[in-house]
Symmetry: C2
Subunit: 458 residues, 2 copies
């Protein structure tokens, strides 16, 4: 166990309070995790499971008296079977490491995201992470075949099946997935793998409207000879910022378009993919004469285009701690929602303008405000309300892929289905009656000790 200066010397990760509790344990096996849970339980100390500590919603922050339980030493790939297309890994394994190992066998995990170098498989499971391939391979929940977890009473739930078909009673791993460590500590998992494409090709389209984006994504999704891999949209404000920061410009490209869509398709060879991308472009420009675009001619240009999309730090450099949101919407609702959002933000402050970008094939939008944070409470609440309003009625979610953590406990309470909230509290009370697992995160149990609840969740 690390304490005092030894903890203070560590990188706390994305949230400055991740190690604020001052106690860190790093068990090396499932049995050691169970031992830690039992000892903590005997002393009434709460446990906060931690992966890469790069979660964005404060799911890993610790307070005095809480034990940070890091899975960093449990980072082994236990088994990777190319025939079965399964990888059994410990929860602390890093996404990028597992992906590299799978690639040696021509396989991939079917999930990819910008934090690939820090995100752990266990953390991604606990937050039900998404990323750029979710339109096709689903989110983390859909990649997990088997799961092992240490429960709050120290027992081990063991369900390390390596097959997709199981209809053998309640599938309890799905309670742990997305629970952000509030119901137990995920220790090992089995992931489903997919074949890596032989070749990919990237294009960047300048488009006049959301409808044009949808048409492009739909056309790319219906190619017979190639498959859509990624479809990432950038609204003008975000594109202007990242392209300026990176000095990216192309005289043949329409920088002034209201929307930019980075597309990646995959297939047998770059040469074979070019006519497919051109067919997508023709379909779009037939319907929307204002459309333009370019097809990447090199791996270097591919990287430049994707960097435009992935460089979210550009916003935070200009607006430190800018208020950020991670919402999802059915595709047919995106345009109407953004129109209303713009109006609502304009009422709050005519200069308030969102940077919008996201995964256009699955409806996940990231929205950052052009303001440094943290905002005064009144303004913060007004913007929260403007962003969250109507998401549920439109069939979307106020939290798409980052989780609830500490940051969105209030939003879940305000916007969650009341029956769901009551059931969540009841399940938490059954599985973790002493509220020892990541207390105050995600669910706020009725019987929780108010001293333990962070003030911003109320």
């Amino acid at each position: 166990m690390l304490t005092g200066d030894a903890v203070a010397a560590l990188d706390p990760g994305w949230h400055p309070d991740n190690l604020a509790g001052g106690l860190l344990v790093q068990p090396g096996s499932t049995a050691e995790v169970a031992a830690v849970v039992e000892i903590a339980r005997a002393h009434g100390a709460a446990i906060v499971p931690q992966g890469g500590r790069t979660g964005l919603v404060g799911g890993g922050i610790t307070r005095s008296g809480e034990i940070a339980l890091s899975l960093s030493r449990m980072n082994r790939i236990v088994r990777l079977d190319p025939l079965e297309r399964t990888a059994t890994v410990e929860a602390g394994a890093i996404l990028e490491t597992v992906a590299a190992e799978a690639a040696l066998h021509g396989l991939e995990i079917g999930i990819d995201l910008a934090a690939r170098g820090s995100a752990t498989i266990g953390g991604m499971i606990s937050t039900n992470a998404g990323g750029v391939l979710a339109h096709r391979y689903g989110v983390m929940r859909h990649r997990v075949l088997g799961l092992e977890a240490v429960m709050p009473d120290g027992s081990v739930l063991s369900d390390l099946t390596r097959i997709v078909k199981v209809s053998a009673g309640y599938d309890l791993k799905h309670l742990l997935i997305g629970a952000e460590g509030t119901l137990g500590v995920v220790t090992r998992v089995v992931l489903k793998l997919e074949p890596l494409p032989a070749a990919t090709l990237t294009a960047l389209f300048s488009l006049p409207s959301v409808d044009a984006v949808h048409l492009a994504v739909d056309a790319a999704g219906r190619l017979g000879s190639a498959r859509l891999r990624m479809a990432e949209a950038m609204w003008k404000g975000y594109f202007d910022l990242t392209s300026a920061v990176q000095g990216w410009q192309d005289p043949a490209y329409d920088h002034a378009a209201p929307l930019h869509l980075a597309l990646m398709i995959e297939g047998e060879s770059r040469a074979a993919l070019e006519p497919a991308l051109l067919a997508v472009f023709e379909a779009v420009s037939d319907a929307f004469p204002g459309a333009g675009g370019l097809v990447s001619s090199s791996v270097r240009q591919d990287a430049e285009i994707w960097r435009l999309r992935e460089d979210t730090e550009a916003v935070y450099r200009q607006y430190p701690m800018a208020p950020s949101y991670d919402v999802s919407l059915p595709l047919s609702e995106i345009e109407g929602y953004l129109e209303e959002l713009g109006e609502r933000l304009g009422v709050i402050d005519p200069d308030l303008s969102p940077f919008v970008f996201g995964h256009l094939a699955d409806g996940n939008l990231h929205i950052l405000m052009n303001r440094p944070g943290p905002l005064a409470e009144l303004l913060a609440n007004a913007i929260d309300a403007a962003v969250y309003r109507g998401l549920g009625a439109r069939g979307g979610s106020f939290s798409a892929e980052h989780g609830v953590g500490s940051k969105r406990v209030g939003a879940l309470r305000a916007h969650g289905d009341p029956v769901k909230l009551a059931l969540m509290a009841a399940l938490k009370a059954v599985v973790d009656p002493d509220n020892l697992m990541n207390p105050g995160k995600v669910v706020a149990p009725a019987a929780a000790d108010p001293e333990r609840m962070p003030s911003w969740t109320t």
Copy 2:
């Protein structure tokens, strides 16, 4: 409500006892389902939700005093959005009906199975159905974006999101999925749709070994220009039976091979798919000189090949009520398992021989015995033990896609992880404290009334 002769006049479906309770209600809306649940609750009457009544494990059987709640009138397609690729349907909608509607928009549900004409979407969700496309699109659990259910207290859990990315607290729909009606009544759902292929092509391979089957499936799964759609294997005994019953023979085909693999790939056109299938065949015959096969030359021949696989009734006609199993195994474990199973069955009775066929890309085997049922208890138990032994240790499951129902409650108790069993009972007790929802199925709560438990589950 139907009673007496009106119920007796109905088709009970696959299990003769499905309507044995003698009471049937057919609510027409979620509100009516909630009203039924509240009335039943007030009278302490148990409810058995029913879909197509073609489940294979007795999940829908009713006993005296229990109310069969059929979703048959709630069979509407509420909304089908081709852009979003979502279908919102009532739980009683028939798989085939929804698939036909989706096909009008060039889309499919991503799940297909032989009972497509009777299986309801709600029933498929409750049993977490699988079928022939699961290796690619997952099982029913992976096709559900949103779900609405009437809970045992009459409240309505409403989570009709139409997006794949939700990380907003515990995902309670996954408790209902696969719970076979023991935690509530699924009333409406949102399904994710996928693009329909432009063309498909079918082949039938005669193969010398399981390894050869794996190689063929793997090669078909890595085609750049085409995609593997179905891979269904038939071991010799099953193939001999269905091909004889259907009078199927082809002088150029090796009927004596130990294994037969029906493959379907998809792509832009039949013509473009032919070289892809031939490439798969070459890869297999290079490694296994004994391999043979034929590529279908017509839609009619396609249908003939698939009928060989789907005609499971051929077994039951010869061995009425033959003992049947539905297990799943990681691909690398299939050969070893079947070898051991053969040995174990031989010890019980040298003439005992299993018909084996199944979904070779996802490891789901269906195993039927060459005996009419029901067997004497001692023999039945011995065969159960032979089939189930080692499945968990091999990373598989004793129940893959049919569910637990009444038939496999004992197997779940014998082979389920003890922590899982304890948690299941605890969750059931919280969500359905009076044990009113499909009592005696799937989970046997500690406090269950022994009078209510069917005798064969003990």
